[in-house]
């Protein structure tokens, strides 16, 4: 599996993502600067966590207009796996690759801890190695993770199985406890929790590994 990790100014989980990918695939991902206009030929694109552009204006707003995003949209448009984690999820919503928006946490606090998540849809390229309805634990670390969309959009997401992860104990006020959603095509996943930070027993646990292993199986 060939992977590209996009690096925005003030991304800070890009290297975590690279370590996770290399651990699972044995291959170092291409680290692609946000100012580039082209992606190398890859199977998977990761938009990593961080605080791109200092979260100025709105989290992910500036990054969603970076030159590389046109190439990311083309990659996603061809049905190829694309995942946005934390700030990457914010970028995907701002780029309109996923519906809704991530707002300031309802309690206004930065939340940084491991949280239990329910796998709501394991019939995706990303989640087929998890049990349907099972509970996993992944770290979250964000100030703007409060997922919002209008009721019609939320109903549609639920009806189409696009809610992939739900918080068992909502840490940020997200509508319907949503922690991660996928596009209709099933190839663009956005999630606030960090699977790439849960690949070592000593650091965040191991519940992130099945996602990367599942992706490897899905694209090979």
């Amino acid at each position: 599996m060939k992977t590209a990790v996009v690096v925005f100014p003030a991304s800070n989980c890009d290297r975590d993502a690279a370590v996770a990918v290399e651990k699972v695939t044995g291959a170092k991902p291409a680290m692609v600067w946000h100012g580039d206009r082209d992606l190398p030929e890859v199977d998977l694109v990761i938009l990593p966590g961080g605080f791109s552009y200092g979260d100025y204006l709105r989290s992910g707003a500036m990054a969603s207009l970076s030159p590389i995003m046109e190439a990311v949209k083309r990659h996603a448009g061809r049905g190829k796996p694309t995942i946005g984690i934390c700030n990457g999820f914010q970028v995907l919503t701002e780029a309109a690759l996923l519906p809704g928006v991530l707002m300031r946490n309802a309690n206004l606090l930065f939340v940084c801890k491991s949280v239990p998540l329910i796998v709501e849809n394991n019939n995706t390229k990303f989640t087929h190695n998890y049990s349907q309805g099972g509970t996993i634990s992944l770290p979250v670390a964000h100030h703007d993770g409060n997922y919002f969309a209008d009721d019609d959009t939320l109903d549609r997401l639920e009806d189409e199985g696009q809610v992939v992860f739900r918080y068992a104990d909502n840490p940020n006020g997200s509508a319907r406890d949503i922690a991660g959603i996928i596009n209709k095509g099933g190839n663009v996943l956005g999630m606030m929790p960090h699977p790439e930070r849960a690949i070592e027993p000593q650091l965040g646990g191991l519940d992130g590994l099945p996602m990367f292993e599942g992706l490897l199986e899905a694209v090979n």
Partner: protein, 80 residues
């Protein structure tokens, strides 16, 4: 030409920051504050002198970057 842009949260969108401000106002003795909604205000200097063209440019700016129309409305004031 100077433009002033107000960006406000749409009705029905929860505003936890506004709530915190409301509660802080109460805590320092300002009673009777029924609601606070926080938004953004921007002043933009444009080289354009034609009002119609300026407005159309500003609308494009709001749609593309300045506002997220999933949750926000924007209003544009033009003039000195």
């Amino acid at each position: 030409m100077k433009a002033r842009i107000h960006i406000t949260l749409k009705n029905g969108v929860l505003d936890p920051q506004g709530k915190a401000i409301q509660s802080a106002l109460g805590a320092i003795g300002f009673d009777g504050v029924d609601d606070v909604r926080q938004g953004k205000f921007m002043e933009i200097e444009l080289a354009e002198t034609d009002e119609t063209k300026a407005r159309s440019t500003l609308e494009a700016m709001c749609e593309k970057l300045l506002a997220n129309t999933v949750i926000e409305n924007y209003a544009i004031d033009l003039g000195d």
